[in-house]
Symmetry: C2
Subunit: 110 residues, 2 copies
DNA sequence: AATCTTTATCGTAATATTGCAATCTAAATA
DNA sequence: TATTTAGATTGCAATATTACGATAAAGATT
């Protein structure tokens, strides 16, 4: 088939999967890291930072935006993209929670 | 094309992307959560927990294993899967670091 | 207004992913 | 040894992703 059976899983599982999937490509990780690095949100320039053609970068940006990881506001004829902290907080607290749980168990197995 | 240009990105970016990609499917998130939930690592049963056929689950397990998120040891004619903490630690510290950095900047933009 | 600049969208080719039925493998047990 | 059981592998169909050339849209600049 090829289509994910999202309806069989919980909303939370789907939400985490969506965020993780959005970061499941090195170009998108690179974009996030670039947006982190520049102190104020830079407009444009992302294309020059990446070894990919402009339409490809635009597509990756769209996916990050759809997933809620970044937001973009129009700034003249350029667009100002920056990180949406809410989504990253979700991921951060999710993995923090898991790490805490794992700590408690301390290798009950394997 | 369709093939990711991994060679253009840093090892670290590729590593994070690989881990994120592995969690980019709700079934795999569900598997991880199930392995978290059961106190000791249970052998088998994962198939019964998921709304997917056995070959499909087996494939998802393989992907999680390849990404380094879980490890499996043979236990008689069953297999004992459990979470590999190292990979989760990587993700946890990655997002923790990002969150700290974002905190410092406090919405310089947008 | 004509042109430039920046970003999005369309169309398409190459490749990857998802899912399952059928089948195989190997240890366990009858 | 024949059978059962747990899990992997194979093969295939449906769908998704990745990448880019060509082109469009819209504000900026000349």
């Amino acid at each position: 088939m090829g289509a994910t059976k999202t309806e069989h899983f919980t909303d939370k599982q789907n939400a985490i999967a969506t965020l993780a999937k959005a970061l499941g490509h090195p170009a998108r990780v690179a974009i996030m890291e670039y947006l982190m690095k520049v102190d104020t949100c830079i407009c444009g320039d992302i294309v020059n930072e990446l070894p990919l053609a402009q339409p490809t970068v635009s597509q990756h940006l769209k996916e990050l935006k759809t997933a809620g990881l970044i937001k973009g506001s129009i700034e003249g004829n350029a667009i100002c993209y920056c990180i949406d902290e809410k989504a990253l907080d979700k991921l951060q607290s999710y993995f923090a929670k898991i790490s805490t749980k794992l700590e408690k168990k301390r290798n009950n197995c394997c």
